[in-house]
């Protein structure tokens, strides 16, 4: 069977090119690897190599022809011992094909399974699986006061006792007991095989952790703060989040990247910022940002057990705050479930992480003025529990989203957009956002205070959407 040499595609975007020059003539014997022609594209002049051995029987496109479409037959090769008598038929067929350039490359591939122009129907984007409302803490459960820090440590320790593939790695997590003392006591109980101090090498150890998850372990990778995770973001986004999809589901990466995120106090721009929206924008990750100690514990335990890569965002300022934590042997909360932390009927305030504290303070102040705010703690940022947010907004018809972070391309802008799509008819006022100011974090105490969200700013926004002054 004679071999048809077609106009090659030389780049992912090339559709046609100029056949600048033939370097072989009709009748020449050629072998694989020989340069037979030069082609010019808008980017470069490229050489065309022969792929097969044989005799160059016919050249079908003359030198200098422009806009030769990719896939058009440009020459015919006869293999050793083949008869020239079949040539005419092939040439005629090839010429007919080139008359219909738009179908050129595909004309003989109509049954190749490759969908051509028929626009495929876009499958519906699946909604985040709705988590049923269940009582999270059984009535009558004894509660103990615990700091967020202690709750996080207990969550890790309990999961490490339960599953010996769980281990912790990061800077100062072992001997130093954690830069913020979140891993206090873990080295003593679990030893240095499972509580691993790393060098200061975030990109490297985020990759090593991801590889360990690929190899069947359940790593908890601590970033001393999430500011440093930007050194490692390629490992998190390109390696951890996408591998399962790129592998057609053959890979699982059960890993937790955790550490403090958000503004700290008086440490200026590089050590004080909220990266939640960055991670929450990435398909293939789950992103959790709890506020209370109980949620921190129940969600961290769930994250460690989850089969997916998880970004678990803590808050340095909240580490030392105490909350009621249920005294249960195994307290695990569902990922992807927001929580109404204060009931109210006049306005919904949506918040997460430390912003919940500001929202609750604002709600107290508003109550004194006769405005009953409902406060929704998102807890998980990806997947977002819009069901809970929409249910609240349907009731209150007003919404203020509070975020201790920048306003642009943020969780609060996402919530606003989703409310437009999902609750427009229920809104009596525009969804309004209260965020940090759109600047790098300032150092000076007065400027930093101006930059941050505050209960006062939230109160003002709520009054505006309630049309009160």
């Amino acid at each position: 069977m004679p071999i048809e040499i077609t106009m090659p595609a030389l780049s992912p975007t090339m559709e046609s090119g100029t056949l600048a020059k033939w370097l072989k003539s009709e009748g020449d014997m050629i072998s694989a690897g020989d340069i037979i022609a030069e082609i010019e594209t808008d980017k470069a002049t490229m050489e065309v190599e022969a792929v097969d051995d044989g005799k160059l029987a016919r050249l079908l496109v003359t030198e200098g022809t422009e806009d030769v479409p990719v896939g058009q037959v440009i020459a015919v090769l006869l293999e050793e011992g083949e008869d020239e008598s079949v040539l005419d038929e092939i040439v005629t067929k090839a010429e007919q094909k080139s008359q219909k350039p738009e179908k050129k490359a595909k004309a003989d591939e109509s049954d190749d399974g490759q969908s051509e122009e028929a626009p495929a129907v876009l499958p519906a984007r699946p909604r985040a699986a709705s988590v049923p409302d269940e009582e999270e803490i059984p009535a009558g459960t004894e509660m103990v006061k615990q700091t967020v820090r202690e709750a996080l440590r207990d969550a890790m320790a309990e999961e490490m006792r339960r599953d010996d593939t769980v281990f912790v790695m990061g800077e100062e997590v072992a001997e130093y007991q954690g830069a913020y003392k979140v891993t206090q006591g873990l080295l003593e109980e679990f030893g240095d095989k499972r509580v691993v101090d790393t060098p200061i090498t975030e990109y490297g150890f985020a990759g090593v952790g991801t590889g360990a998850a690929l190899g069947g372990l359940r790593p908890i990778v601590e970033f001393m703060t999430f500011n440093f995770s930007m050194q490692a973001i390629d490992a998190i986004v390109n390696s951890a989040a996408k591998q399962r999809y790129m592998a057609g589901g053959k890979i699982t990466i059960p890993i937790v990247f955790r550490g403090p995120n958000g503004a700290a106090a008086r440490v200026a721009a590089q050590h004080s910022q909220n990266l939640a929206p960055w991670y929450a924008s990435v398909p293939g990750l789950k992103v959790i940002a709890p506020y209370s100690a109980a949620d921190a514990k129940g969600l961290l335990k769930a994250a460690i057990r989850d089969q997916n890569p998880i970004v678990f965002l803590e808050n340095e300022i909240m580490y030392g705050h105490s909350f009621d934590v249920p005294k249960l042997d195994d307290f695990v909360l569902p990922i992807g479930k927001a929580k109404v932390v204060r009931k109210g009927s006049d306005v919904t305030i949506v918040a997460y992480s430390i912003a919940v504290r500001e929202a609750l303070k604002a709600a107290d102040a508003l109550a004194e003025e006769g405005i009953e705010a409902e406060v929704v703690d998102l807890r998980t940022l990806r997947p977002l529990d819009m069901d809970t947010v929409v249910a609240s907004v349907r009731k209150t018809n007003r919404c203020v989203v509070v975020e201790e972070g920048w306003p642009v391309c943020s969780i609060s802008s996402e919530i606003s957009a989703r409310l437009m799509e999902e609750a427009f008819d229920y809104l009596d006022a525009p969804v309004t956002r209260v965020t940090n100011e759109d600047t790098p974090t300032p150092y000076a105490a007065n400027l930093e205070k101006l930059w941050l969200i505050s209960p006062e700013k939230i109160v003002r926004a709520v009054k505006a959407v309630c049309y009160r002054d």
């Binding site: 050489e47 399974g113 490759q114 129907v121 060098p199 190899g215 399962r244 790129m246 592998a247 699982t252």
Partner: protein
């Protein structure tokens, strides 16, 4: 040796076909061919045992094939079909077959190196005696994360062999134009990792070096770095005009150092017949033709696959 010849020829013919199909528009995106470098992956794989792992960069077709994936699945991945090794969702640069010990297929230059160290960390943690091979190129050898990984691999004495496939050009930039210190096998010295230079065009030397390295690492003696001098005949990817090197350089290498010509000559000297090799050649030709046909006719993924395999649904 006959098996070396068979595997190397299969990769060569497979890649030539892939190049051809790319030219026909049947394969999209980036497509980096392994032609010229076949001896490395074939030599190393023959030194491994079940349970060992392999990870590499984006020039991954050869690695996928020799670790156990069928050439059919690899070609169907290149054409973006449901029967592909990653169900058409990964493409040329992202091939995975974890059951066979092949952990990708990674598109970001150098990112596979810490992942490989993580696999080695897991092997050591679990207490099995498996070894991980982490392949990367001369270009990746200048990535910072590679050195972060060297440091941790030595610190924790991880069972990993770092393999630099030095094909001498990182895309269009030669080693001489990108590296202050061009003896890449010495790049581990500052971390306490011994290195060795190996002729990557000679599959027998590759095998001998692999045996030695794998035994060293399996015995718990810590990581090693091997530099395999090799050459890629084709461009960096299919869209490479290759103006950074002369045609003579490619031609001379091809004529004088070709790894398949080398092993063929050795086989004939050892008494194999041209006929035996011809039989193998014909089998491979038929396999590749069959594979190409399969990969063009297999169905594309169903549109509903767009939203699957993102997360493990619990």
């Amino acid at each position: 040796m006959l098996e070396f010849y068979r595997q190397m020829s299969l990769i060569r013919r497979f890649e030539e076909k892939a190049g051809q199909m790319y030219g026909q528009g049947l394969i999209g995106g980036f497509c980096h061919l392994y032609i010229g470098q076949e001896a490395i992956v074939v030599g190393f794989q023959s030194a491994l045992k079940k349970g060992d792992g392999v990870i590499t960069g984006y020039r991954s077709h050869g690695h996928a094939i020799v670790t156990g994936a069928s050439s059919k699945e690899v070609m169907a991945e290149l054409t973006g079909r449901d029967a592909g090794i990653a169900r058409g969702k990964g493409g040329s640069m992202h091939m995975f077959d974890p059951e066979a010990g092949f952990y990708g297929g990674h598109g970001i230059v150098g990112a596979q190196v810490p992942l490989g160290a993580g696999l080695a960390f897991a092997a050591k943690y679990k207490g099995d005696d498996s070894v991980i091979l982490a392949y990367f190129g001369d270009g990746a050898a200048n990535q910072g994360q590679v050195y972060e990984t060297f440091n941790m691999a030595k610190l924790w004495s991880l069972p990993i062999v770092f393999i630099v496939e030095n094909n001498q050009y990182a895309m269009g930039t030669s080693v001489a134009r990108s590296s202050g210190q061009q003896e890449l096998f010495r790049r581990g010295e500052g971390f306490g990792i011994p290195g060795k230079l190996v002729d990557g065009m000679n599959v027998l030397e590759v095998r001998a070096a692999a045996d030695e390295a794998v035994a060293h690492v399996r015995a718990g003696k810590g990581p090693l770095l091997l530099e395999l001098k090799t050459y890629r005949y084709r461009g960096h990817s299919m869209s490479d005009p290759a103006k950074y090197r002369t045609r003579e350089e490619v031609k001379t290498t091809r004529e004088e150092r070709d790894p398949i010509t080398f092993i063929k000559k050795r086989l004939l000297e050892d008494g194999e017949t041209e006929e035996t090799l011809k039989v193998i050649d014909n089998e491979i030709k038929a396999e590749v033709a069959d594979v190409a046909d399969f990969a063009q006719n297999a169905p594309e993924p169903d549109p509903s696959e767009l939203y699957t395999d993102i997360l493990v649904e619990s």
